[in-house]
Symmetry: C2
Subunit: 240 residues, 2 copies
């Protein structure tokens, strides 16, 4: 009997929404791999990553497996669920199978993949992992509104808007471009801050870039009091 | 005679080096467009963007035009040269032709394209511009060394290492991940700082990611006194 070789785990970024923003490498791997995992937030919930690549998959010859990665209050139960997922993936790898794990955007920028790898390498230290970078929603948002992220010797900061005010204020004062993620739940507070520091006219709002629901708002004052999409961000560029 | 429609300028990110990291959209446009501009630093110098996509271009049916975008000491002469380039592009657009302008990485992240658009829209305000985002060298470097750029509520800063020490120090103290670009000329000074703030073992060095000359260095102390490639960066992640 031959000694079995452990398979490779491919962390594949599928870009922010537009299926044409997949890389050629992601596209090739999606067609070659016989087993592809897609993350979902709860059983039966839609997988955004899967929706993006739906047209490129062929369920008649590929196994497409949804794994639940819930963000729970109960940290212990969440960790347990993640270990179960990692174990399932590890079993396939140990059996010598190459598998893909899809993530929206880029696998190393705010994605579940980082945790999958952490838990998995605990279980199965020998596993080979290849990360296929993808276009992030930050880049696609900047492209949609045509705002430079950084130029020459400029500095770019990317951070969640849920930070305390002083953190945001320092970033706005010291970086040429600041991208604030997760602005939906704190939009009024963020707009107050932008008014205060004189940057309100330098901000552009983008949500669900590349999806049919995409929204680009240049007059961000109009967002006050609105219920916004979870996938919302602001690009604030101090230079105009 | 029909009224001529002004053409569209496509700013196309071709990714950091590996030709397979082009997006499907960039790939399609590269094959459809009959005129593609590529930037070079001086006449006769290689175009990195062109090298990446060489296999996808067909000079027998496409016009591939190199434009010199020099970084000169003489700011006036540089601006004049850029205006001449913009005028050449504008003439084609006004004649109704769609054209592509290639950039390594992403068109809105440290790229010549931003300046092209600025000068061009001065000359030709009606021009339609479409930006096709691309994988940046920052993302490809993180993928190559498998270091997360940001997770959950973390913050990411991207900045040139040529900043004064206090600027770097503040960024290192307030961001979970800091990517320092252009480290080649200041590597010893940066290593001193990293030793000082206790982050030297948290830094990874990547140069020319995706090119045959790619170099990944985990023991960054070994870089002291070395002559490094211009396209060098450090990823410093305070959490391990």
């Amino acid at each position: 009997m031959n000694r079995q070789t452990v398979g490779t785990l491919y962390g594949i970024g599928v870009g922010p929404g537009d299926p044409e923003l997949l890389t050629l490498k992601a596209y090739r791997l999606l067609r070659e791999l016989s087993l592809v995992y897609v993350p979902v937030a709860r059983p039966g919930a839609p997988s955004y990553a899967r929706t993006i690549v739906e047209a490129y998959l062929d369920p008649s010859r590929q196994q497409i497996v949804e794994l639940v990665f819930a963000m729970r209050e109960d940290h212990e139960r969440m960790a347990e669920q993640w270990r179960i997922n990692a174990r399932r993936i590890a079993d396939e790898l140990v059996a010598g199978r190459d598998v893909g794990f899809l993530t929206e955007g880029d696998p190393l920028l705010y994605s579940t993949f980082v945790h999958v790898v952490t838990v998995l390498t605990d279980i199965c230290p020998d596993v080979a992992v290849i990360v296929v970078p993808g276009v992030s929603s930050v880049q696609a948002a900047a492209a949609a509104v045509r705002v430079p992220l950084a130029d020459r010797d400029e500095r770019l900061a990317i951070l969640p808007a849920t930070y305390e005010c002083t953190g945001l204020q320092t970033a706005l004062a010291t970086f040429d471009t600041v991208v604030l993620l997760k602005v939906a739940s704190v939009i009024d507070r963020v707009l107050d801050l932008l008014e205060e520091v004189g940057l309100i006219d330098h901000a552009v709002y983008v949500s669900r870039v590349g999806w049919p629901e995409e929204r680009l708002v240049h007059d961000v004052r109009s967002l006050r009091g609105q219920k916004l999409d979870y996938f919302s961000l602001l690009i604030i560029r101090s230079k105009r």
